[in-house]
């Protein structure tokens, strides 16, 4: 395996609604910034891959329009996943293993504000048995939360504490959307959205974009002083039908973590893509994180949740703490599909 590292990371602020710029106008300055920060000239980028969903804009091939922001001339080698940018990063990592190129650009973007995200996400469900009932994303997450509460693995108070803690940590993150000190009693007194989930248990709706530059081996060492080396990366998926899964656990996260070398590794930081508060409990358990791990110093997905970007943000935020020396080893997680159906786990480390 070639050593591949994240050498730079950039993001736009996550906003409830980006009223001024369209996706291309959001991306162009961002890509310029992430490339400049990497110290690697644009022409050395051998592979470009993005993560986004046409369903957010309601227009097929909308990701092709986003290529305007890349300046794809002369023609570039490019790919796209109709998924969170974290999975695009995985593809870039795989591509760099071939050994013929040393640098890849990964980006992700999405404007959830354009449509009704809860309802748009119904279109990812089984079209025969499930989608015709239009179970929105919050309803499905609520089914998982109830199962977790019934199993005694979590309480509504813990969920509120998780929401409050993430948003308090987000005060240090100028890019996050929901930041501040929230009183747990006040949160618990608020009405249910879809029981047992209250508004604070759910992610905000966000428009945003993020980008990462990956470099291999010596090219990474030449570019930055402390590359965030990817020591392991893996993703696994469970069946799509909720009625077949154990909603209280995340076996795909555990398996991906095992393959990525995370289980048993002691990490300083864990960035977990848990859009709903109860899911942080499931993921902590699945990754077997110790009590001293700093979870979601960025504020996580409860503080900012640009769809298709939030997973890449976890990888970028974890990497940034290695790049600037705040952390030695970090785990980053990204998810896709309802109720943590598919999960990516990445172990990163800085040089000693």
């Amino acid at each position: 395996m070639r050593d591949v590292a994240i050498v730079s990371f950039a993001q736009t602020p996550s906003l409830r609604r980006e009223r001024d710029k369209d996706e291309v106008e959001m991306l162009a300055p961002l890509l310029g910034e992430v490339i400049e920060r990497s110290g690697i000239p644009r022409k050395e980028i051998g592979f470009t891959v993005s993560g986004s969903s046409d369903y957010l804009t309601g227009r097929p091939f909308s990701f092709v329009i986003a290529l305007d922001a890349v300046g794809a001339w002369p023609p570039i080698e490019e790919s796209h996943v109709e998924m969170d940018g974290a999975f695009a990063l995985h593809e870039a990592w795989v591509r760099l293993q071939h050994g013929d190129i040393d640098v890849a650009l990964v980006y992700a973007f999405g404007k959830s504000s354009l449509g009704s995200l809860r309802d748009v996400l119904v279109t990812q469900l089984d079209p025969y048995y499930t989608a015709p009932l239009w179970p929105d994303a919050i309803s499905l997450a609520a089914l998982q939360a109830r199962a977790l509460l019934d199993a005694g693995l979590c309480t509504e108070r813990e969920m509120a504490q998780i929401a409050a803690r993430n948003r308090a940590k987000a005060r240090q993150n100028p890019f996050a959307q929901l930041r501040g000190d929230f009183d747990v009693e006040a949160l618990l007194a608020s009405p249910y959205l879809v029981s047992p989930l209250r508004k604070h248990d759910c992610p905000p709706i966000s428009d945003g974009a993020a980008a990462v530059v990956l470099a291999a081996g010596d090219r990474a060492r030449k570019a930055v002083s402390r590359p965030a080396w990817i020591r392991g990366i893996d993703h696994r998926i469970e069946p799509h039908s909720l009625g077949v899964r154990d909603l209280c656990r995340s076996p795909s996260t555990t398996l991906a973590a095992r393959k990525a070398g995370v289980l048993g590794a002691s990490v300083d930081v864990a960035e977990l893509h848990a859009p709903f508060s109860h899911q942080e409990v499931i993921l902590r358990n699945a990754l077997d994180l110790g009590p001293n791990v700093d979870i979601n110093p960025s504020g996580g997905a409860l503080a900012a949740h640009p769809m298709m970007v939030a997973g890449l943000l976890r990888l970028g935020e974890a990497a940034s703490r290695i790049l600037d020396g705040r952390a030695k080893r970090a785990v980053a997680h990204a998810t896709s599909g309802p109720c943590l159906q598919q999960n990516l786990v990445c172990l990163m480390e800085g040089d000693p």
């Binding site: 001024d20 009932l133 089914l143």
Partner: protein, 153 residues
């Protein structure tokens, strides 16, 4: 150059995306939905003996094609639920209801559907519910109008 500070904002426009998909079902999903039209619920049995409801074409563990249909009960147990106080367009009921995963008698997996209960205080995991059929059925998951709490004996 238009000036966003002038307060006009960028132009927006409503855009409705509508597709009239008709999906072919194949022998397994087709048989299940035909059963619903005819007022019965069938699962499919795996070689390991598990009965999957709703049926899938392939064994989730081995990937082998499945063909062994078995009728299951029209009542079962709620394994988890969630109360939606403000239903959204297209959902099974227009008044507040519970989403639930329901493991029908004879099945080993749970079906997602709605439960028409008077309020969230009437819902708990482990309760029994029974199917309410739609009067006119066409062969779709909506042939089950919803489930309702089984009367407590």
């Amino acid at each position: 150059m238009y000036d966003p500070a002038a307060g006009d904002g960028t132009l927006t426009a409503p855009y409705v995306l509508e597709y009239t998909y008709r999906r072919s079902l194949g022998p397994v999903i087709g048989r299940f939905l035909t059963g619903l039209r005819d007022g019965k619920i069938e699962g499919i049995r795996t070689p390991a003996g598990q009965v999957l409801v709703p049926p899938t074409e392939y064994d989730p563990h081995t990937g082998e094609p499945l063909t062994d249909f078995v009728e299951v009960g029209q009542s079962g147990v709620v394994t988890t639920w969630a109360w939606i106080a403000e239903p959204r367009p297209g959902q099974p009921l227009a008044r507040p209801f519970a989403w639930a995963l329901i493991r029908l008698d004879g099945a080993d997996t749970a079906l997602l559907h709605a439960v028409d209960a008077p309020g969230p205080e009437h819902m708990r995991s482990g309760m029994r519910v029974t199917v309410r059929w739609r009067a006119e059925r066409v062969g779709g998951i909506g042939d089950i109008a919803c489930f309702e709490p089984e009367p407590v004996r």
